[in-house]
């Protein structure tokens, strides 16, 4: 089987959110001598983006997206293991959570799925996360991005507190800070000194790609 066939199989495995198929094609392609980074870039990444488009158009829903993210992570693990030392395809490290006092997390779950599916290493802190925990985790893992989600006007002020915490510790410039959630707007993000505002998961991915580039 040639590279073109492996690439198409890789695309198909993600579009059908089939983890077993994704792992299988990754193993077979690499065993056949295909470059793992090429398989990722032309196969799996293309497939996950096609599925992401379907999600944006309402043709598939969150369960399918999360299954695809799991398939992508599994495929990435196989491909990264086959790469030379230090050439991992992790595109960036993201620490993300829903702020303290807020338990809405479905939007954040979608963002995590998108990010993992697109090669980012993600630490999902969950819901009701204290301000300090965002910063502590970012420091611990050497994150590139801190993301904070809030769905309530009553809890969104915690996002500005994260900025304040970073400044208090003298590490504001070490991280890019992205905010999201229904009450957030670009004006609001600018007013609290966030680096970006994500209107939805696709926008979040785009903004993070721009910030890390």
């Amino acid at each position: 089987m040639g590279d073109a066939e492996f690439i198409q199989e890789a695309i198909d495995s993600l579009v059908t959110y089939d983890k077993d198929k994704a792992v299988d094609v990754a193993n077979r392609a690499i065993a056949a001598g295909m470059a793992p980074d090429e398989l990722m870039a032309k196969g799996f990444v293309v497939g996950i983006r096609q599925l992401g488009d379907k999600f944006d158009e309402g043709e598939v829903y969150l369960p399918e997206l999360m299954l695809a993210a799991a398939a992508m992570e599994a495929a990435m693990a196989v491909c990264n293991a086959a790469l030379p030392e230090g050439k991992s395809e992790v595109r960036g490290k993201v620490v993300i959570g829903t702020v303290e006092g807020d338990v809405h997390d479905i939007g954040k779950a979608i963002v995590c799925a998108y990010l993992r599916a697109n090669g980012y290493e993600v630490w999902d802190l969950g819901r009701d996360v204290p301000v300090e925990d965002f910063v502590d985790k970012a420091e611990e893992v050497g994150a590139d991005i801190i993301g904070a989600s809030a769905l309530l006007t009553a809890t969104m002020r915690k996002q500005s507190e994260i900025v304040a915490e970073l400044k208090d510790r003298g590490i504001r410039d070490k991280y890019k800070f992205v905010v999201g959630g229904a009450p957030c707007t670009q004006d609001y993000a600018d007013s609290i000194g966030a680096d970006a505002y994500a209107a939805d998961a696709s926008d979040g991915l785009k903004k993070i790609e721009e910030l890390i580039a």
Partner: protein
């Protein structure tokens, strides 16, 4: 608070709870409060599509009474992409779920209203109308609205949206489902292509004379336009 007031506790998506909610529930039940158990199943979310989310919606009704000892259930199926309850899919879920619930259990259920457009826009009122007609036609007991402009902008809600909600409900009460389905199909088509560009409307103080607490002439004209649209669809209320 008054003894007739409601105390709210929310379920988590989907069909989950946590210790915080159970503590709320315990407190409310010990205090013999009226307990309103709220949940907004998400179309396109963890449950998936239309059929799955409708099933989850029925289950959340049961959950309110079985797990939380609720007095009544407050619903609000919401579209994951748009974050509103007035999309075609959200209305379908709400309508089917409450008809199923009402066929089996004598419980009280309300529905929440989150529109894309904001106050002082025809679109906001048409969205409100669509949900009011759906809720009335499908047997919902309580209407809880309206959170205009998705309910996320401070001061972007007024009493006129709620008034329209009530008038449309009264105007369609008793209509056969076949007739309301036709009205809804035509009505939803009028706004569902405009979610991305929907006008977020005006703040309360721009919609009302805040000293006299009466709507502005501008908003009354908008209201009249919405009434004319509804009359064109065969929905009429005595004061329109």
């Amino acid at each position: 608070m008054r003894t007739s007031d409601n105390h709210e506790v929310s379920q988590l998506n989907e069909l989950k709870t946590d210790l915080g909610a159970l503590l709320f529930t315990s407190h409310y039940n010990l205090a013999a409060n009226n307990v309103m158990v709220e949940q907004m199943p998400i179309f396109g979310g963890f449950a998936g599509g239309l059929e799955e989310t409708t099933i989850v919606n029925v289950a959340t009704h049961l959950n309110s009474f079985v797990t939380f000892g609720g007095t009544w259930h407050l619903d609000g199926p919401v579209h994951m992409r748009w974050g509103i309850t007035t999309t075609r899919e959200a209305l379908a879920i709400a309508g089917h779920a409450i008809m199923a619930v009402n066929s089996q259990w004598p419980i009280l259920s309300g529905n929440q209203y989150y529109t894309m457009a904001g106050p002082c826009t025809v679109m906001c009122l048409l969205e409100t109308a669509a949900q009011a007609i759906t809720d009335t036609s499908s047997g919902r007991e309580i209407m809880s609205g309206v959170a205009a402009a998705k309910g996320v902008i401070t001061d972007k809600t007024t009493g006129l949206e709620a008034r329209f909600m009530g008038e449309c409900a009264h105007a369609t009460a008793g209509m056969p489902t076949e007739q309301t389905n036709e009205i809804l199909d035509a009505l939803v088509k009028m706004y569902e292509g405009d979610y991305k560009t929907a006008d977020q409307g005006k703040f309360f103080h721009e919609c009302y004379d805040t000293e006299k607490v009466v709507p502005t002439d501008e908003y009354l004209e908008v209201y009249d336009k919405a009434c004319e649209v509804m009359k064109g669809l065969g929905v009429n209320y005595p004061t329109w």
